[in-house]
Every structure is written in structure tokens, then in C-alpha cells.
């Protein structure tokens, strides 16, 4: 086997997939803004992505905030910076950990579910059936999911931010001996609007990525049950990697001088 040919083939496959994904995303976004609008489906997706992800995102945020407070205290004590717990918890949660960990959890739950559902519809010809019933599958399946995920992730992350900071507060005041009022006042004084806003913008981008990966891999699944399983795995893995990549890009965009 020629190694150059193998690298070339892999590169061409990468470019082809990137192109297909770009076109898929473009059509998905176009159908969000073009009527008819399936409000009932958008509502269902808002419930499924937003409301039903609340427990997992909330618990993750709570424990992340708690462990963050502990770690900062332990690490900070090495150079007499224990007092920075409240500041670093709120900064870490709103800027990074709230959106990123929240999105990774939602990717595992939602992206996989989307890929499995749409993938099953693909292999059982339900997507073809949609077309024969004068219904555009992009409009019916993809657009509501993209819209709902993009709208819901910022809300989820906002709640995750609050719960995460509360987690830090519980450990900070309950275990590390911080004064309750001082902890909250420090958190409030230190927090800037841009910290929260950047996290929410990230969340919207991550939401779009989560739905795009779930829909794309489901839509292109083939080969029966095994194909649907592969689509589900690919959706979660690619969504997770793209979330981390997009996280760097958005951070760079917001905070580079």
C-alpha cells in the first residue's frame, strides 16, 4: 500500500465530508427561515432538548462548581491565594465549564438520540416516505432540531451557571469556612457581563453543533442496525470534538486583544 495514496485518500475524504456537512448545515439553516414552520415540532424539540436535559446539566454543573471550589482552595493554599475561590469559581463556570461541560453532556444525550431517531427513519425508509408525502425532510426533521438546540443551549447554560456557582458557594461556605455574605458579594463584584455573554454565545454555537451532528449522521446512516449504531457513535464523538474546537475559536474571538 502506498502511504502517500492513503494520506491523499484520507485528505480527500475529509474535504468531501466537510463539504457535505457545510451544504447540509446551509440547507438546515435555510429551512429554519423559510415557511412552512412546524411549530408543534419545534415545541416538541424545545421540550426534549431543553426541559429534559435540565436534570443532567444541573447535576453536572452542581458537582463541577463544588469540585472547582475545592481544587482552587487546595491549589491556591500553596501560594496563599485561598481567598480567590469565589472569583475563580464564577469566572471558570460562566466562561468555560458551564458551557463546555453542559454542552458535552447534552451532546451525549441529545446528539445520540437525534442520530438514532433519524438514522432509524433513514434505514426504514421513513425519510423517503416523508418526501413522497410532499414534506421536505430538512424542514420537518432538521430545521426544528437545529432551531430548538440553538435556542435552548444558552438557557440551559444560564441555569447551569447559576447552579455551578451555587455549588461553589455550598462548598465554600459549608466546608471551607467562607462567610456567606462575603462569598456572594465577591462573586457579584467580580463578575462582568462579558463573562456571561461569552458563555451564552458559546452555548448557542454548541447547541447548533450538537443538533447538526445528530441530524447529519442520522441522515446519512446506512446499513441497518449497525449503521444506526455507527451514526450514533459518530454523532457524539464529532459533536464533542467540534464543541472543544469551537470553544477555542469563540474564546479567541471574545478575549483576544
Amino acid at each position: 500500500m502506498n502511504p502517500f495514496a492513503a494520506v491523499g485518500r484520507a485528505f480527500i475524504t475529509f474535504l468531501r465530508t466537510a463539504g457535505k456537512l457545510g451544504i447540509f448545515g446551509f440547507h438546515g439553516v435555510r429551512h429554519i427561515f423559510a415557511p412552512p414552520f412546524y411549530m408543534r415540532l419545534i415545541g416538541q424539540q424545545i421540550m426534549s432538548i431543553g426541559y429534559y436535559s435540565l436534570p443532567v446539566v444541573g447535576l453536572t454543573a452542581l458537582f463541577t462548581g463544588m469540585v472547582l471550589a475545592l481544587q482552587i482552595y487546595i491549589g491556591g493554599s500553596r501560594f496563599n491565594a485561598e481567598s480567590l475561590v469565589a472569583n475563580i469559581v464564577v469566572l471558570g463556570i460562566t466562561r468555560e465549564l458551564g458551557p463546555v461541560i453542559g454542552a458535552l453532556m447534552v451532546a451525549g444525550r441529545v446528539s445520540a438520540a437525534m442520530a438514532a431517531e433519524i438514522g432509524t427513519m433513514r434505514v426504514t425508509e421513513q425519510i423517503d416516505a416523508l418526501t413522497t408525502l410532499s414534506t421536505n425532510p430538512f424542514k420537518y426533521l432538521v430545521a426544528p432540531r437545529l432551531l430548538a438546540a440553538t435556542l435552548m443551549m444558552p438557557l440551559l447554560v444560564l441555569i447551569a451557571d447559576i447552579i455551578g456557582v451555587m455549588g461553589g458557594y455550598i462548598v465554600g461556605t459549608g466546608k471551607l469556612g467562607f462567610n456567606e455574605a462575603t462569598y456572594l458579594q465577591t462573586t457579584y463584584d467580580f463578575l462582568e457581563a462579558s463573562d456571561v455573554v461569552s458563555g451564552l454565545v458559546k452555548a448557542a454555537v454548541f447547541g447548533f453543533i450538537i443538533a447538526l451532528m445528530g441530524c447529519y449522521h442520522g441522515f446519512h446512516s446506512q446499513g441497518g442496525a449497525q449503521g444506526v449504531g455507527r451514526a450514533t457513535t459518530n454523532a457524539v464523538v464529532s459533536a464533542s470534538i467540534l464543541i472543544l474546537f469551537a470553544n477555542y475559536l469563540v474564546t479567541e474571538l471574545f478575549f483576544s486583544k
Partner: protein, 258 residues
Amino acid sequence: MNDVPKIRLQGVQKRFGPKVVLDGVDLEIPRGKSLVVIGGSGTGKSVMIKCVLGLMRPEKGSIQIDGEETVGLRGDARDRLMRKFGMLFQGAALFDSLRVWENVAFGLIQGRGMGRVQAKKLAQEKLGQVGLGAEVGELFPAELSGGMQKRVALARAIAAEPEIIFFDEPTTGLDPIMADVINDLIVHCVEQLGATTLSITHDMASARKIADRVAMIHKGKIIWTGPVEEVDRSGNPFVDQFIHGRAEGPIHMEVRRP
């Protein structure tokens, strides 16, 4: 205008990579007639029907509906064309997340903007036509037997009263009695609608019952067409082998002997 075939395929070619699946298919179906395409697995039957439906695009050739070229049709023109079609899929392809009546009414609600109350009434009527009570309409597809799912799929295919109905292996996976029930329903519903139909099957009992004309496809080409009454005396060795289900003959299955 009446001389124009309802469906006409000329030189339709479709390939997947190096594999040629349709190799210049020519077919004509007059208005109100029923053509059944027979042929073994992997001969291109399903791909042909998907090309006519616009679910796949052929590389070469022409597909005309009512004399209008449909290959490459997009947007509103494609939407208008799709309204002429109804399709019964091999595995029924019912939407699992919707109730039976919502499946039947789907094309009316989503495709034509009909109100849910009116669409539900119509769906119950169509379910009645295929021998299912209104109570079945409240169930989900997973709660139905294979035969009932096929009946629901038939009700969905005819719900919007299409001009052309496609049947993809309508009796596959059913016991002989249920298969005959489905065949009778197909004949009855198509007669009532006056629709033109294109079916693909390898069930000869089904073909004999629902076809006006039969065509045989082999290696992506139509190798014989004729009235259903002549299928037993076609004089074509490929057709003879297929309808009698013989392993010996000009059609060689790619089976590796132990």
C-alpha cells in the same frame, strides 16, 4: 393528450460507483393501467421506482410524467409533481412516533395544509376502506401486526387520492392469505381511484392479481413486457425461469457452492 403515457422512462441509467444498476430502462404505462415489474433481488427494481419518485437522480435518460420531463425537477415544480404520487413502501415505513390516523392523514395535514379534525375524519374513512376500524387509528404502528401495518400504509398511500401509486413489494413478509387480502385491497382501491400504478414484486401471485401488464427487469434492463395473460407463454427463457422459480436457467444467482 390521452395518447401520452402517464409514465414514460427512456434510456434511464443509474450507477453506484462502478456498479451499473439501471442500464437504459425503457418503460411506458398508459393512464389508468397497472404495470408490475418483476425481477430478482438486486436487479434494479427499487432503484427504478426511486428514480421515478425523484428520490434518486439518474445519470442519463428521461422520466416523463404526463409528458413532462421530471429528471432534475426542483422546488415548487417538484412539490406539484409529488402531489400526484402515493407510495406503499416494502416495510410500510410508518412513522413510529405518530398514531395510525396521523400517519394516514400525514400527507393531508403536512403536505396540503388540511385541518387536523377534517384530516382525522378522512383518515378514518380511508382506514375503513382497507378494513380497519376507527379504534385502530388511535394505536401506534408498533402495536400493529405486519399485515395491519401494510393496510395502514395502503390507506396512507391512497389518502390524498393520488393519480399515480407505487407499490414496492406490497406482499413481502406476509402469509399467503394476508398477501391475498392486500392484493384484493390494492385492486379495489386502485379501481375506485382510477389511478395509474407501478409495482415491483417477486411474488408472482401478487403480480398476476394486480397487473394489467408485466415487465421483467434483469441486470438493469427491461428484457420483456407484455399483458399479464401472456406471462406464461412469453417465450422468454428468463421470464419462464423466474415465474416458475427454477434454479436452472439463463439467470445465474451468484452463490458460492460449498
